[in-house]
């Protein structure tokens, strides 16, 4: 099936030379996607502030425009015209490059996300892996920011990035493997099409692991160690001001949006849904996932870095291993009998594993002899 973009290109190339059609189609598509992303990011910033306010029995920004919807715009404009301080001791080049390295991959993720039926920029054959791969680049940016600032708090945050990648990348990749096993392809559109039953039902454990891993990768509560403001002030962007800080800020919300989109696509059935138009379904699901993230943020304290690692390595990783193996076996023999049998076994598996692990696994006390 052709994507909308390809159709558009085919339509264009009737009139234009091949390369021009290609370029124009690409740029138009990209601007549609970018427009979607940036609007949604701005809306999300507002939405989170308001929702967090309501969770905390207060109002949140409500004065600029109807219900304060213009608040993020004012904030963005203000940050834009704020002075930009680069500390003298910092590594200037790295300090300047870091925001770009954080921000660009976030935008790149959206290349493979089907916003609606056929509305995908590039339906890559390796879409699912592409997501993880691109996602891991922005961690390098965070690391650069932390190191380049030449600030001890930022340095600690940078090192925590390493800890986080090291622990969460594996469970995330493994849980994605579960999805791929069920789809039989790495393409994102195929993934959506394969979800007659959303994968959150098909493999709840995989979803849980992926969700937790995603929380860690986008530095959200309870894994927001990189900017744990009660510990290390502002984390890796302690020394950033002005537009560069805004870039991190946008990047953070862009990340959240990206992961909300990914979770929607991979586990919630993407744009599929009855009655409403596909794009609306997609939007609703994304907002729902994001609300869940905000809800977690409003409730939970954060883990310590070694506990985070222990949790990932001793908890999520073995669970994910068992999960993919079971899923593989199911896909070979069980799924042909009945899809619902798979659902049932997987739910049982999830419950059993969670119960077992809660009993078995011990988070370290964390004291180190010095």
């Amino acid at each position: 099936m052709m994507t909308l973009l390809e159709e558009f290109r085919a339509w264009l190339s009737a009139a234009l030379p091949e390369w021009a059609a290609y370029l124009i189609a690409g740029i138009v598509g990209i601007f549609v996607v970018l427009g979607f992303v940036l609007t949604l990011v701005i809306v999300f910033i507002w939405y989170e502030r308001r929702l967090l306010g309501r969770f905390q029995i207060r109002l949140g920004p409500n004065r600029l425009g109807p219900e304060g919807i213009f608040q993020p715009i004012a904030t963005a404009l203000k940050i834009l015209i704020k002075e930009d301080v680069v500390p003298e001791k910092a590594d200037r080049v790295v300090h300047w490059l870091a925001p770009i390295v954080v921000f660009v991959p976030v935008l790149m993720v959206f290349a493979v996300i089907p916003l609606s039926q056929g509305a995908i920029l590039a339906d890559l054959n390796v879409g699912v892996l592409y997501l993880v791969a691109v996602g891991s680049v922005s961690a390098v940016g965070i690391y650069m920011a932390g190191w380049g600032s030449n600030n001890k708090y930022a340095l600690i945050a940078a090192m925590r990035t390493v800890a986080q990648i090291v622990s969460y990348e594996l469970p995330v990749v493994l849980s994605l493997l579960g999805v791929v096993l069920m789809v039989g392809s790495l393409s994102m559109t195929k993934t959506v099409e394969a979800q007659v039953v959303p994968f959150i039902v098909m493999q709840p454990l995989g979803f849980l692991i992926f969700f937790l891993g995603a929380l860690a990768e986008m530095n959200r509560c309870p894994f927001d160690l990189l900017e744990a403001d009660s510990e290390i002030v502002a984390g890796y962007h302690t020394e950033y001001s002005g537009m560069k800080f805004a870039m991190f800020y946008l990047g953070e919300y862009g990340h959240a949006l990206a992961y909300a989109c990914i979770i929607t696509t991979l586990f919630l059935g993407g744009w599929r849904g009855p009655v409403l138009p596909p794009f609306l379904w997609f939007l609703i699901k994304v907002v729902a996932v994001f609300s869940l993230i905000v809800w977690l943020r409003a409730t939970l304290p954060r883990l310590r870095v070694d506990q985070l690692m222990a949790f990932a390595w001793k908890g999520l990783f073995p669970m994910a291993l068992i999960n993919i193996f079971v899923v593989a076996v199911e896909m070979l023999w069980l799924v042909d009998i009945s899809r619902w049998l798979v659902v049932a076994t997987n739910i049982v598996l999830a419950v059993v594993l969670i119960l077992a692990w809660s009993r078995l696994f011990v988070l370290g006390r964390g004291r180190v002899e010095v």
Partner: protein
């Protein structure tokens, strides 16, 4: 502004001595209050249309999303937090993103008694804030030393070390009082012009 340390010089004693020296220097240097930056109050601005529009946009953005720098020093800090808490919620003014890093903050709310020992830190953090920046002196102590003005260890007023834009009296001021002060800051920002700089 750095204590360069090669290992032996890094003893706690040496650090203390260096910091003490800095306190004394600051103390000597700040015997007189800094004049209030208030000349805009009377002045009538003459600006052209373009400048006015740009000014308006700039000031609109600046005044409506101030990131406050939390600078709680003493009792007043708790009224400052009360201002941020649910009942008074300065998030309504777009101030819900509290920054602890001076790089990202616009408004320093100094709430509480400033001692001479703390004064270098206050000054340094003020200086590390990125432009444009504003300062509120909250509470009697920050305005004038308040209750402890006679004391040997207290700075008699924040305006000895940094210029203060708005004074909020009270001991501590009520949260409403602080919000009122913030609204004064808003008004001040709205009257600023980029042409003047």
């Amino acid at each position: 502004m750095e204590i360069e340390g090669h290992e032996p010089a890094l003893s706690a004693w040496n650090i203390d001595v260096l910091e003490g020296k800095r306190i004394e220097e600051l103390r000597v240097a700040s015997q007189q209050p800094i004049a209030d930056p208030d000349n805009w109050l009377g002045a009538e601005l003459r600006r052209n249309i373009l400048l006015t529009t740009v000014d308006y946009a700039v000031n609109w953005a600046r005044s409506r999303s101030i990131f406050p720098l939390m600078f709680g020093l003493a009792c007043c800090a708790f009224e400052m937090i009360a201002t941020a808490a649910s009942r008074f919620d300065i998030a309504r003014f777009g101030m819900d993103i509290f920054r602890w890093s001076p790089r990202q903050a616009d408004l320093m709310i100094v709430a509480g008694t400033i001692t001479w020992k703390m004064a270098p830190a206050v000054k340094l953090i003020y200086e590390q804030m990125a432009e444009p920046k504003w300062v509120i002196a909250m509470g009697a102590c920050a305005i004038s030393g308040g209750t402890f003005r006679e004391s040997y260890s207290v700075v008699p007023g924040l305006n000895r070390i940094v210029p203060v834009d708005v004074y909020v009296p009270g001991c501590p001021p009520r949260p409403e009082g602080l919000i009122h002060g913030i609204r004064l800051i808003h008004r001040k920002i709205m009257s600023e012009s980029i042409g003047k700089r």
